[in-house]
C-alpha cells in the first residue's frame, strides 16, 4: 500500500511524484468518472439511441469498478449478462420502435426541473449518509486474500470454503447459495417463457394503428362500398380477407 503523503507536501513540491500515485485509486477515479458521467448523460440525452450508448458505457465502467473491488466474477458476469445480454435486448427494443417521432421525445420543462430538484436532494442525502460512517471512510488494512473466484463458485453449489468473518467460530454452520441459485434459475426460465409468450407474433387481422386510421378517415374504397350498402365488402377491405 502506498504511504500516505500529506497534501501540504504535494502543494509545496508543485508536482505529484509518480511513486506517490496510488494506481488503484487512479483507475478507480477513471472508471468512476466514466460510470457517473455516462449515467448523467443517459438522463440528459433526449435521443433514445444515444441513451442506449451511454448506458453501455456506464455499465461497462461499473464492471471495471467491480474488478477493482476484487469481485472479478461479478465483474465478468456484469460484462457478459448486462452489457452483452440485457443491453443488446434493449438496443433491439430501440431499433424495433425507433420511428421518427419516438427517437427524440422531450420531456416537459417543468418535469425536468422538478426531477433535477428531487434528484439533487436525493443525491445529497445519499452521499451524506454514505460519508457519515467513519468506518466506511477507512481503507482496508491487513492482508487481502488471493483474487480467485473459487469461494464464490463453491458457495453457489452449496459449499462454503471462505473464512468466516472475525468473531465467528470457524465451524459455524453457514449455508451456501444452492437454494437461491436454483430459485433464480427456475425464475429465469419462467420469465423467458413468459417473455416469449408475451412477445409472440399474434394473428391480428389488422394492426391497431390501421384500425384507428380507418376509423378516423375511411379510405375511399370503404366509403364507396358502404355507400352502396355492401357492408360485408367494407369489412373485407379492413380485414384484408377476400370477400
Amino acid at each position: 500500500m502506498t504511504p500516505t503523503i500529506p497534501m501540504a507536501d504535494l502543494v509545496a513540491g508543485g508536482l505529484l511524484p509518480l511513486a506517490a500515485i496510488n494506481f488503484h485509486t487512479l483507475f478507480f477515479l477513471l472508471f468512476a468518472a466514466i460510470a457517473c458521467g455516462a449515467a448523467v448523460a443517459v438522463v440528459a440525452a433526449d435521443n433514445v439511441v444515444r441513451m442506449a450508448l451511454f448506458l453501455v458505457l456506464s455499465l461497462a465502467a461499473t464492471a471495471g469498478l467491480f474488478f477493482l473491488a476484487g469481485a472479478e466474477f461479478v465483474g465478468a458476469m456484469q460484462l457478459m449478462i448486462y452489457v452483452g445480454g440485457t443491453l443488446v435486448l434493449l438496443v433491439f427494443g430501440v431499433m424495433l420502435t425507433a420511428q421518427a417521432p419516438f427517437v427524440t421525445m422531450k420531456s416537459a420543462g417543468g418535469d425536468r426541473l422538478l426531477a433535477g430538484f428531487v434528484g439533487v436532494a436525493l443525491l445529497a442525502m445519499l452521499v451524506l449518509a454514505g460519508l457519515s460512517v467513519p468506518a466506511w471512510r477507512q481503507p482496508a488494512s491487513g492482508t487481502v486474500p488471493e483474487p480467485t473466484a473459487t469461494p464464490l463458485g463453491m458457495a453457489l453449489v452449496g459449499v462454503r470454503v471462505d473464512q468466516p468473518p472475525a468473531g465467528q467460530p470457524v465451524d459455524a454452520v453457514r449455508s451456501g447459495y444452492l437454494l437461491p441459485f436454483e430459485i433464480v434459475s427456475v425464475h429465469l426460465l419462467v420469465v423467458l417463457v413468459g417473455a416469449a409468450y408475451l412477445a409472440r407474433a399474434k394473428r391480428r387481422k389488422t394492426p391497431r394503428a390501421i384500425e384507428v386510421a380507418a376509423s378516423v378517415e375511411p379510405p375511399e374504397a370503404v366509403a364507396e362500398h358502404a355507400a352502396i350498402g355492401r357492408t360485408r365488402a367494407a369489412a373485407s377491405v379492413l380485414t384484408g380477407e377476400p370477400s
Binding site: 502506498t2 496510488n22 419516438f102 481503507p139 488494512s141 391497431r208
Partner: protein
C-alpha cells in the same frame, strides 16, 4: 487512527494518493442510483424508463460489491463477505429477467397503440 473529519475527508477523496475506501464506492452508487431515479421519472419513452431501472439496480450493485470487497472494508467483521457478491450476481440475473419481460410488454404496447410514449398508456384511467 482516528478518521479525518468529514470536510477534510471529502477533500482528500479527490486525491490520487489516498487508497480507496468503501465511501468512494458509496458515492458512485449514489450518483448511479439518483441518475436512474431521475431517468425513470422524466423519460417519456418506455425504453428510457427501462434504462433508468437498469441504472438503479446497477447503483445498488455497486454498494453490495463495495461492502463485500476485501480490498475496501476496514475490517472483516463488518464486511459482507461472499454474501455481497452473491447478492450482486442475483441482482444481475433478475435485472436480465426483468428487462426481458418489460421489453415484451413494451413491444406489445407498441403493437397495440403504435407509440412508446408512457403518457399515452392511460386506457385504465377512469
Amino acid at each position: 487512527m482516528m478518521p479525518p473529519p468529514l470536510a477534510l475527508s471529502s477533500l482528500l477523496a479527490l486525491s490520487v494518493t489516498e487508497p480507496v475506501s468503501v465511501a468512494h464506492y458509496l458515492v458512485v452508487g449514489a450518483i448511479l442510483f439518483t441518475a436512474g431515479v431521475a431517468c425513470m421519472a422524466t423519460k417519456r419513452n418506455a425504453l428510457g424508463v427501462l434504462m433508468g431501472i437498469e441504472l438503479v439496480l446497477n447503483g445498488a450493485n455497486v454498494n453490495f460489491v463495495a461492502f463485500a470487497s476485501p480490498y475496501l472494508a476496514a475490517d472483516g467483521a463488518r464486511s459482507l463477505g461472499l454474501d455481497g457478491q452473491a447478492i450482486a450476481l442475483f441482482v444481475i440475473l433478475l435485472a436480465a429477467a426483468e428487462a426481458a419481460v418489460a421489453l415484451a410488454i413494451t413491444l406489445n404496447f407498441y403493437n397495440n397503440h403504435a407509440t412508446v410514449d408512457v403518457d399515452r398508456a392511460d386506457d385504465l384511467k377512469g
